[in-house]
Symmetry: C7
Subunit: 246 residues, 7 copies
């Protein structure tokens, strides 16, 4: 599910400009460069000539306070409007310093969940389960959830009917899970013992059993799916089903 | 579903003014130009004469501090009110620099989801599935989801009854999907192998099987719909249905 | 559903003052004018006399800094309180420049959805489906959805029972839709071919078929309603119903 | 449902002080006046003596910058705290200028919906359907919905069973509505023809027919209730009911 | 349900300090006074000595700008942090001026609903239906709903089965309500006639009839409960029940 | 449910540092002290040396305006970042002055509900029903609900079937409640008479009867539970059940 | 469920940089260091050379006010953008001073719930039940819930059918719980007596019994699960089930 941009893991701010290919893309890039370039050039000339002009006026003995006040209005607007940019960059710098995630990690950034494709100073790029690429501004992330650090936990929540015997069902489920993690496909992904927690939840309509097992980072979802199937089969065989009418 | 504004893909800030035709539109445009023009003219004269007047007062030796303070009140209001504009333009410039999306891409901007019709410095125009055109201010976009970059993933979630055998159902579904992506209409859209993930979800009322397959960008929805129909037919044939009472 | 203020489509800021008639309204208007007029007069005199008084004090050699500081407190409050007004006007100017919508368009402004009755610099007036007139401040609009630009798309979502054959149902539905758009009342509103997308959604309780067809702007809702009735009748005739028990 | 404060429709800021009667109320008013009066007196003396004191210090040659800085802290707090007041008054002034609503109109202000009892510069008073009086700050209103301007629209949404014939049901419903609006109690309230829109919504459980008719302002709810009863009776007579099992 | 603090209805800011009795409370009050007192004393000494110290430095010819700048940082923080306090007091003053509610009124303040126990300049105290006392900051109240001003409206919403005859049911319900308000316990609370509005709502599962009657302020809930019971009994007697299976 | 920190009810800001015991805790405290101490020391030295350095530069005749401007940037950030702290302390001071709650009270602070364990100037500590200790910043509390002031109200909402006779059921329920509050375990907790309010709510599926009784502060929950059991038993005995099918 | 970073419990700001191992991680760290280092170096040179340049201009007699004003715009943006950082650090310092939680505690921080892995000045690291590691910015935490302080409370909510006898069921449940906490596996975790609160909730579909018992910190969940199973078995044996049809 993860896809590396294998030949260039280095996070650079300018990255996104070059990571599509083909001549249509290059035409588009050239056009974009022209648009942004001319804009920045206009702004820069405007600022420089403006400052020079005001300095000249000041040398001629004209009181420049009213002009500065007018410029201040623009300055306040720009300063306030730009604070989001600064917030994004500062957040990005600290995230990088603290090594919260890297390319290939599976993360939950609030606005998007998926595999990190690129770590930038202003934005982080994540590809979700549908293949959609998300560009998330670093400043909008209040908490980062990283599911691929050192180990994961596969949590199996199994619904059983209200009339079932909780202890017996937990024992059967635990035994099935222990056998499953001892066999070949799962034994490679599992790091610890199966823990049978028992009746996690009990409502008028049924009981939810919970089992957990520590896994290698990034393998918790596959282990959970495999254990779900195996535990359900064991409960079916024992005549314990999800609805009360066994 | 996408519609190009074929003869003018260049994103320019002034674009929207000219992309409706006919004489009614041109009358409307003229009127709009007059309204906005006269407004801007009034504001400009007001500012210029005001600054000149204050400079004259200052030359006459009158203390202009109280007048500047009054003007400052207006300045603060304008500066704060204008910060959203600046935010929109700065966001637009960085989105363009980072090439987050282009005309024809299918994007999720939070406020609107659809095909990009125009990329502007202040607003992005998107046409959604009902044909509604959305003008989204760039500064209000906190995360961009682009579904048309390099590849997509078709995720098929298939409900089956609780009493079904998970492994057998997954095998039948996987086989049906593999045959479907090998045949003509889908084989062109598919980039990788079908992955049978198994029991994604298990509740008291049923099980959800999940299959995924990598597709060409923008084709994931068509592939998902086709696979859904084929997999359902295969499960029906095998006597595995969505409700417990098989 | 739309209602033009036919004799005066020009968007002007002062419009709303005059668009109710009768003598009761004129009495109300006169009263309102008096209330607001006296308020503005008081504020203006207060500001002018205040500035003059401070200038006199300053001429008399009194340090006016403490007085200015006190005035600054009022200024900050007014400046901050007025920023919403500025935001409204700036948003209105840009919306007009970008021609996002005009009188008679059907728009979704977030706070209100309906037919535009008036485009103003501070507020936009929209009449919704219940005939309620909404005054929406331009500064509170983060995204505008315009459903009447160049074309619309009628999206027909048709529920069928889980046990139905998806491909057969889609074929019957598509054929019925194609015949409907070829006949007189709809053929005038439709711009393109019917697209049969297939199984859009599949749950334990049923399947949702989706068909789409491009229509003239503003006609998508009528086309959708007509196609819904025709497609349902065709499916009924073929014995495919919305619930599993056919 | 509306109740005029008949003898005093003039919107004045000081209104609310006098619109309760009796001696208990007058005692309460006197007490309130004392509380607020003494507070304002204290604040005013504090400000005036403070400014005078600082001016004296300044005349004595003492550097008053540190004192002004301390005062500035209070000023910032007051200025920021007071911005809501300014926002309320500015919103009120523009609402009045634009004549968005008047006493007796039925409005939706977001925080409260009902009949306007008083239009003030800072707050608008609305009485809702339960007789509760709402004091809404004008600055918190982002969009005003006025249901009593020029005309209203009665929208009748009629549920019918899935198995019904849509066109036949729409015809029966439309005919019943047309007869109803032609008869005495409704014919006075209705301004236009009944429009039969057809199948507005179609789900697995049923169909929703929609009819609309233009009415006099403020009469749309009574017309809707009357039409609902008449159309339902006509459908009942024709054997078309709300559930599938006819 | 309301409880007066009978011996002291005057709203004073310092009130809450003294309205619990007993020696434990007085010990607690003394302790609290010590804590807050010492804190305020420390802050005051710090501010006064600080200002004096800076004035001395300034007299000695030392440039105090850097020191003032450092102090300004603290000032900004305090000023911003204190703006909520100012907002609370300003809101309280205007609420009192406009007499939005008094002790004993039943109000909805957003954060809490109940009987007003105390009207203060910073907070309003309300006791809700469970006897919980709520201290609500005046600045957080955006709209006040007062249910005890001049009159209330009892709204009776009565569900009946879909198959019932709407007009007949409305007539029976209206007649029952009219008889009820004419009899002793209710006739004292009611101010106007019963209005039978008819079918307020119609869904696939049933119809909702609505009746309203004007009542004395604060009596609308008792009247509604009594009418609900009487109207239901009348409908039961007539064989019209809440579910379709009559 | 409440737990006193019996030997130290005095609210002090420094409290939390010392209220865990054992050598592990003291080691942890020492470590924490070192971390925070070194941080504060660094900041203090940095500020003092910085101010001194700038004063020296100023004495040497160097224009320190640019340096002050740079420092101002840091100052703005710190000032804004610290405003939350100030808000917390100011809220805490006023809460204490107004005696909104004390140690042992049961309060609802929005973020947490439970028994107050400590009242601090910056944070309030509350232990909820699961034994979780909540540290709530005083500045985030917009309304405080105190359930232990002078009295509480036990509200018993009893569902009965739609077909029941409302008046008879209310009489039986009221009688059962009156007998219950007259007997030993409840009579000590109850302060007033049982009030039988009648049909609080009436839907298609049933009726909700409501009874209330005033209780000693903090005893309303126990009284409600006891009354619920007794009233239900009385209704069961009388053959009035929660569902229509008696 | 908790996992200590046993060999390094000291909370240091620089921690996260070193807590992954292996050569891939060290390469990544080096790269990250280079990226951030070069960025910081550029910013520092820019600021220092800028200040020096302005000082030189000032010495040459050029009015530097316009230049300072331009720089101020950047300053405002940076200052505002950095306020979140300051907020994070200040929150972290106070959390540490108040010892709200330590490594190994189970906390609810709003954005994430789990076992604390690291307490930093800017962020707190928490591992949740699925093994996902959450990096939470201290400034975004408005209330901290710590479930491992001095004791916990196991709350058992047991659904029983409406027709059951509440007192009898409560007695059976209480007895079962008392026996369970007296036996070996639970007796070590429990600190107090079982409290049988009775009917916590009563709806049309059933009754919820509640029992609570004080436990050692962090053991409340295991005790709750064990008691749930035992109490359910006791009720089953007594013929009291979760649904009305016993």
């Amino acid at each position: 599910m993860t896809s590396g941009v294998a030949d260039g893991r280095m996070p650079t701010m300018l990255r996104p400009l070059s990571h599509r290919g083909g001549s249509a893309a290059s035409a588009r890039r050239a056009q974009r460069a022209r648009t942004v370039g001319s804009l920045l050039r206009s702004v820069a000339s405007f600022v420089i000539y403006g400052v020079a002009f005001v300095l000249v006026l000041s040398k001629l003995g004209i009181n420049i306070a009213p002009i500065l006040a007018s410029a201040g209005v623009v300055g306040v607007a720009v300063g306030f409007g730009a604070q989001n940019l600064i917030k994004d960059f500062l957040s990005g710098i600290f995230m990088m310093l603290e090594d919260q995630y890297g390319v290939g990690d599976v993360v939950d950034l609030g606005d998007a969940t998926g595999t990190v494709e690129m770590v930038g100073l202003r934005i982080t790029t994540v590809r979700d389960v549908n293949g959609t690429v998300w560009y998330v501004r670093n400043g909008t992330i209040s908490a980062v959830g990283n599911s691929t650090q050192r180990f994961g936990v596969a949590v199996v929540d199994m619904p059983i009917g209200y009339t079932a015997d909780v202890d017996q069902a937990a024992e059967i489920a635990g035994e099935a899970a222990r056998q499953a993690v001892a066999r070949a496909p799962l034994s490679d992904d599992v790091l610890g013992e199966v823990e049978t927690l028992g009746a996690q939840d009990l409502t008028q309509t049924g009981i939810t059993l919970r089992l957990t097992v520590k896994t290698k980072p990034g393998r918790q979802w596959a282990v959970r799916r495999a254990l779900t199937a195996d535990v359900k089969m064991a409960l079916d065989t024992a005549g314990i089903t999800a609805t009360a009418a066994a």
